[in-house]
Symmetry: C2
DNA sequence: TTACTGGTTGACGTTTACGTAAACTTACTT
DNA sequence: AAGTAAGTTTACGTAAACGTCAACCAGTAA
């Protein structure tokens, strides 16, 4: 239980760099323990890193990822804070939904591009078959 | 037909800034005509701007947006280029699909956060109703 | 003892995507 | 003529997210 990871293990697993991981620590997004002078990452650290990189892939800034990750943290017991949290969740959800529809629109555009390109290729093939069967 | 737009019209419509629009031109992403010293944007320019901003929302760099927009352009007739295009489409599609699944994962996480927060709020309400009806 | 291997701490450099300010032009409007 | 609105160019500034050295340390293998 209670797995520990070296920095190079995380680098390997997530395909990032040690510089990047240390940078996230510098920004307060990670806080690994130390074994002597070396860093040792817990399962929680690893999860946080995973979430940061996921955020990165969808274009979130580190601050935005931090905000989202903070939402997952030990839920406050204070009513005001809970309501504030629900607001933030709603806002972020709206942004994510916008992103999804932007992605869908782009995918649709690409599908068109693809089908047109394939049509042109097909017509080339037909032409070439007439002119020269088995042509290279 | 053949609508023309001033820079401030585009700024209004898309909620961006003139600085940004000029910057995109500087980077070769837009190339409006001139009426005297002022810029005049065509429908095509407007569409390109729209696509750039859409790309921006999903975290694409300007170069990435340029690449995608270039795919929509007059399809080359050259077989090699068409096949190269199809490769690019496939690559970009893979990235977009990854993004979508990242977004879905994040949305799922947020849904959990929300339901937990609501549970806590509900239990507060119950407690308060016992202790003091109509309490502030 | 020497030489890696794996990690560490600075510190400065770099790219991207604009913001901001200054000084100027052109075309009205008053 | 003077002012204002809308736009322009030029140029320097800036925040984010790392990359890239350089110099150092600590443990292990040869």
């Amino acid at each position: 239980m209670s797995a520990r990871y070296t920095i190079s293990e995380l680098v390997k697993e997530f395909g990032t760099t040690s510089r990047t991981i240390r940078f996230y620590e510098e920004k307060g997004l990670l806080s690994p323990q130390r074994e002597g002078q070396h860093r040792l990452y817990s399962a929680a650290d690893r999860t946080r890193l995973k979430l940061i990189l996921r955020g990165k892939r969808i274009g979130l800034s580190l601050e935005e990822s931090r905000e989202i990750i903070d939402m997952y943290d030990p839920l406050s017991n204070n009513r005001q804070q809970l309501e504030r949290l629900l607001e933030k969740v709603a806002q972020r959800r709206a942004l994510l939904q916008q992103q999804r529809s932007d992605i869908d629109a782009t995918l649709a555009d690409l599908a068109e591009v693809e089908s047109k390109a394939k049509q042109v290729l097909a017509s080339h093939d037909a032409t070439n078959q007439q002119g020269a069967k088995h042509a290279q």
